[in-house]
C-alpha cells in the first residue's frame, strides 16, 4: 500500500442518507479519500444513533457504536431543513458536491425540495444516488421498511433454517450488506463516466433488486424447472460432510465442507480411519448425502474432543476445507484479520478508543481508511460552513442563534 493519492481524492460528497445502505455506501468513498459531509437533523436523529450497542451500555446520540461503524471519516453537519436558511445551506452543499446520497422513503426528498430534478438544476453534473427498500417507482415504492424486514421480502429468510422448522432467518438486515457493494461500484463507474462526458446521473438503488442479484441461480432454477429453493440446514446438494460440527467448550463449532472423494479420503485419514468411515454407505458423495444424519453423528462424536481452532488447523493442513464458526471474540483475535489490518482502532471523543472495520478489498496504489472516527452530531458545523461553503463568521453565528443548525 503506497500512501499519497487515493482513488476518490478530490471527490466531494453530500451525504443526506441515513440508517444502513446509504451511509455504508458513502463510507466506501470516505475511506478512499473523498470528503464526505454527513447531513443530519438533531430533532429527527438517525435511527441508528439511538440504537445499541452504546459504549458501556449508556445511551446517547454520540455513543452508538452501530451508527459509528457506518459513518467513520465523515464530517458531521446538522441542519433543520424546515428552516429556509438551512435549505440555503443544503443547496450550497449540493452545488459544491460531485455526489449526493439520500435514503428516505421515495418522494420525501422531492417534497422537501431536494429531489434529483432540483439537485440537477443547482448542479447539472451531480451524481445523485437514492437508496430505498423497493425503488423509487412502483405500487410499493412508498411502503416504509428497513433491511430487517426486507431480508424476508427478498427471499433470504426462507433460505435459512431447518427444513422441519419455521424459518430462522439471518440475525441482521442481510440485504443492507449486499446493496452498498453495488452502490459503491456504480458511483465509481458514474464518476469515471462523468469525467469523460461531463454528464451526471440519478441512480435508483432498490435494495430488493440489488439483493436478488445474489439469488440469480435460484431465480433461473424456478424459471426453467419450477423448483423453489428452500431452507435445508447446512446441507449441500453435492458435498458431504457439509455442516457445523460440535467442538470442545460452550457453543463451539467447526464447519467442515467435503466436496469430493479426495477430501473425504484426507478426512478419513485425519480421523484415523475409524471403522464407521469405512462403511460402504459413506464411500461416495451420493451415499454420504443420503446418510447425512448418521455421518454427522459419527463426525460429531469425533470433533467434540477438539478445540475448534485446533481442529481447523489440523484439517486444513491435510487438505480438508474447514473453518471455525467464529464469534465476535474470535474475530477480534483472528490472526488472519489482523494480518489484513481489518480492524482499525481510533479515538472517538465520546466512545473513546474503539474499533472500525475496513472494507474487503485492498488497493496496492491507494491507501484506505478509515482515518478518523465517526463525527459527533454537528461536530463539524463550523468547519463545513466556513471552509467548505465559505460562510462568514457572522453568518454562522446568526445560523446558530436562529436554530438553523439543529
Amino acid at each position: 500500500m503506497s500512501g499519497g493519492q487515493r482513488a476518490f481524492a478530490g471527490v466531494k460528497v453530500a451525504d443526506f442518507s441515513w440508517v444502513g445502505v446509504g451511509p455504508i455506501t458513502m463510507r466506501y468513498l470516505a475511506d478512499h479519500g473523498a470528503t464526505v459531509v454527513r447531513v443530519e437533523s438533531i430533532s429527527r436523529a438517525d435511527f441508528l444513533r439511538t440504537s445499541p450497542p452504546y459504549k458501556d451500555g449508556t445511551p446517547g446520540v454520540n455513543r452508538s457504536a452501530f451508527w459509528a461503524a457506518f459513518n467513520a471519516g465523515k464530517l458531521g453537519l446538522t441542519l433543520d431543513l424546515k428552516k429556509p436558511k438551512a435549505m440555503d445551506v443544503a443547496r450550497k452543499l449540493i452545488a459544491w458536491a460531485d455526489v449526493m446520497a439520500e435514503s428516505f422513503t421515495a418522494g420525501a426528498m422531492e417534497r422537501l425540495g431536494l429531489g434529483y430534478e432540483e439537485a440537477r438544476r443547482i448542479n447539472p453534473g451531480i451524481i445523485y444516488i437514492s437508496s430505498t427498500n423497493q425503488g423509487q417507482t412502483g405500487p410499493y415504492a412508498r411502503q416504509p421498511g428497513f433491511g430487517t424486514q426486507l431480508v424476508s421480502l427478498s427471499g433470504y429468510t426462507h433460505l435459512l433454517g431447518w427444513p422441519d422448522r419455521e424459518p430462522a432467518g439471518a440475525y441482521g438486515a442481510y440485504t443492507d450488506f449486499i446493496s452498498p457493494r453495488f452502490g459503491a461500484a456504480m458511483v465509481a463507474a458514474a464518476l469515471a463516466g462523468r469525467r469523460r462526458t461531463g454528464e451526471g446521473m440519478c441512480i435508483d438503488l432498490s435494495q430488493l433488486e440489488a439483493g436478488l442479484q445474489f439469488l440469480a441461480p435460484q431465480v433461473l432454477d424456478y424459471a426453467t424447472s419450477g423448483r423453489i429453493a428452500t431452507r435445508a440446514g447446512n446441507a449441500h446438494a453435492s458435498a458431504a460432510p457439509h455442516n457445523a460440527y460440535p467442538c470442545r467448550g460452550d457453543d463451539r463449532w467447526c464447519a467442515i465442507a467435503v466436496a469430493n472423494d479426495a477430501q473425504w479420503t484426507a478426512l478419513r485419514l485425519a480421523m484415523g480411519d475409524p471403522d464407521w468411515s469405512q462403511e460402504k454407505r459413506f464411500a461416495t458423495v451420493l451415499g454420504r448425502r443420503r446418510h447425512a444424519a448418521a455421518l454427522d453423528e459419527n463426525m460429531g462424536a469425533w470433533t467434540q474432543a477438539f478445540d475448534a481452532h485446533e481442529l481447523m488447523r489440523l484439517l486444513q493442513a491435510t487438505g480438508v476445507p474447514a473453518g471455525v464458526v467464529q464469534n465476535a471474540t474470535d474475530l477480534f483475535a483472528d490472526p488472519q484479520l489482523a494480518a489484513q489490518g481489518h480492524f482499525v482502532a481510533l479515538e472517538h471523543p465520546e466512545i473513546g478508543r474503539h474499533h472500525y472495520e475496513r472494507f474487503a478489498f485492498r488497493l496496492s496504489e491507494s491507501a484506505s481508511g478509515p482515518d478518523a472516527p465517526a463525527p459527533l452530531l454537528g461536530q463539524h458545523n463550523e468547519q463545513v460552513l466556513r471552509d467548505v461553503l465559505g460562510c462568514s463568521d457572522d453568518e454562522i453565528a446568526d445560523m446558530i442563534i436562529e436554530g438553523v443548525l439543529e
Binding site: R181, V219, W253, A255
Partner: protein, 409 residues
C-alpha cells in the same frame, strides 16, 4: 454513456473460479467486454448446481449461467508456456484481469509485477481469495460454508438448540465478487487520473464480516457476544422477541418496535382483542424499549391474529394501517410480485436450443442514463475461440490447429 455502457471499450480477462466469477459479471453488465478464459474442459464451477431441469449436464449449470451471463469464453491452458504467451498477448488490450482462489493466482500468471506497473502499466489486476493475499490462513481452502463460518455469519444464525447455520445457497463468493467489482472500479477511477493500474486484493472472509450488522460492535463496545435465536431472536440484552410469525399460508416478518402501534390499531378496529396491553401510548415506545414482560403479553395476542390471516392479507393490512410488516417470500413469490413486475425487473434472455427465453433478475440499479444489463446468455466453454484468436489476435487457421493439437486451446 449514450449507449448504456459506462465501461464501453474496456476489456476484462476473467480467469476466476467460483470464488471470483461474479466480479466479471458486474463489469459485463456495465458494458465491459469480459472474456472468460477457461481451462480446456471448462471452468470447474460449470459442474456446480442448480442444473437445468435438475440433472447435471454439460452447459447446464445455472450457477454458471448466472455468473457468466454476457461474457465471451475462450479456452486456454495458461499452464503451458505457449498458453501463457497467448494470455500475455491478450493482456496488451486488457483493462482488467481477474483471478481467484490461490493467493498467488496472479503471480502464477506471470503478473507479479503488476503493482510496479512494468509490463502492463495500465492493468488492474484483481485477486479474489477466501482469506486475502497474506496472513497465516492465506493458503487455507475457503468454500462458501467455511467463509461464512470464519467471517462470523454462522455464529449468530440459526436455532439455538441446533448447529449454527448459513443460507442453503452460496453467498460468500457473491459478496466477494461484488466487492471485487467495486474495488476494480475504484482502481479504474484512480487510473483515469494517474494513467496507472494497480492490484486489487479481495478477501471473502472480510466481505462476510460486512454482513454481520452490529455483532462486532456489541463485542467492541459492550463485550457482548450476540447469540443466535432463529425466528425468536435473542436480543443482545437478553430479551427474546419473535420476528418471523406463522400465518395461514406461510410466514411474515414483524419486528415490533413502534410497529405495534399500527398492528394494535388494526387488531382493535377488527374487534380482535380488547386487551389493555394494546392500549399504551405507542408514540413513547422507542426501539428496544419493549421489555420481556411487554413482549410476553403482546406476542400471544398477535400470534392468533397472524395465524388466521394470509401473507397477502397481512401485507396489505400493514400498508393500510401504516406499519412495517413484510412477507417471507420465496423466489416463486418474487417472480409474481407486483412491485417487481411494474418496475419490469425480470428480463428475458434468449438461449439457443430453448423454445422460450429464460427469466433472469434484471439490473442491480436503475439510472437516468441507461442501466446495467445482461448482454446475453453465458457462453459455452470456448465458444469464442475463433472470434478472439483468429478475428482479434490475428492467428491463422494453421496456428489455431497447431494450438488445438498441442492441447493449448
Amino acid at each position: 454513456m449514450t449507449d448504456d455502457s459506462l465501461l464501453a471499450g474496456q476489456r476484462a480477462l476473467d480467469l476466476a473460479d467460483a470464488q471470483g466469477a461474479y466480479c466479471g459479471r458486474v463489469l459485463a453488465d456495465l458494458g465491459a467486454d469480459v472474456i472468460k478464459i477457461e481451462p480446456l474442459g471448462g471452468s470447474a464451477y460449470r459442474r456446480d448446481g442448480p442444473f437445468l431441469n435438475g440433472a447435471p449436464q454439460a452447459e447446464g449449470s445455472l450457477w454458471a449461467w448466472a455468473a457468466d451471463a454476457g461474457k465471451r469464453s475462450i479456452t486456454l491452458d495458461v499452464e503451458t508456456p505457449t498458453g501463457l504467451a497467448l494470455l500475455h498477448r491478450l493482456l496488451a488490450d486488457a483493462s482488467y484481469v481477474i483471478a481467484s482462489s490461490a493467493p498467488d493466482a496472479l503471480e502464477g500468471l506471470g503478473l507479479d509485477d503488476v503493482s510496479r506497473g512494468q509490463r502492463w502499466p495500465r492493468l488492474i489486476a484483481v485477486a479474489v481469495t477466501a482469506f486475502g493475499r497474506e496472513g497465516p490462513y492465506a493458503s487455507y481452502q475457503g468454500p462458501d460454508l467455511v467463509a461464512m463460518a470464519m467471517g462470523g455469519f454462522m455464529h449468530s444464525s440459526g436455532d439455538d438448540d441446533r448447529p449454527p447455520l448459513t443460507f442453503s445457497v452460496p453467498q460468500a463468493c457473491l459478496h466477494a465478487g461484488a466487492e471485487a467489482a467495486a474495488g476494480a472500479l475504484f482502481a479504474n477511477l484512480q487510473r483515469q487520473r494517474t494513467g496507472r493500474g494497480q492490484r486489487v486484493d479481495v478477501s471473502a472472509q472480510e466481505a462476510v464480516l460486512w454482513t454481520l450488522m452490529n455483532t462486532n460492535q456489541f463485542w467492541d463496545a459492550m463485550r457482548v457476544d450476540v447469540r443466535r435465536g432463529g425466528a425468536v431472536r435473542r436480543r443482545p440484552d437478553g430479551a427474546r422477541l419473535r420476528v418471523h410469525w406463522r400465518c395461514k399460508d406461510g410466514y411474515v416478518t414483524f419486528v415490533g418496535r413502534g410497529d405495534w402501534k399500527g398492528l394494535a390499531a388494526w387488531m382493535q378496529a377488527e374487534g380482535f382483542s380488547r386487551d389493555p396491553a394494546l392500549d399504551r401510548d405507542w408514540s413513547q415506545v422507542q426501539p428496544w424499549s419493549l421489555t420481556q414482560d411487554d413482549l410476553d403479553r403482546l406476542e400471544p395476542l398477535a400470534e392468533p391474529f397472524f395465524a388466521q390471516r394470509t401473507v397477502e392479507e397481512l401485507y396489505q393490512g400493514a400498508v393500510q394501517w401504516r406499519f412495517i410488516l413484510y412477507p417471507v417470500y420465496t423466489v416463486a413469490d418474487l417472480m409474481g410480485y407486483r412491485q417487481l413486475a411494474e418496475r419490469r425487473f425480470f428480463v428475458q434472455v434468449p438461449h439457443d436450443g430453448m423454445r422460450r427465453a429464460v427469466t433472469y433478475p434484471g439490473p442491480f440499479v436503475r439510472t437516468s442514463h441507461g442501466e446495467p444489463r445482461i448482454r446475453g446468455r453465458a457462453p459455452h466453454a470456448g465458444e469464442h475461440n475463433r472470434e478472439v484468436y483468429q478475428g482479434e489476435l490475428g492467428l491463422s487457421g494453421r496456428e489455431m490447429a497447431a494450438l488445438r493439437a498441442g492441447g493449448v486451446i
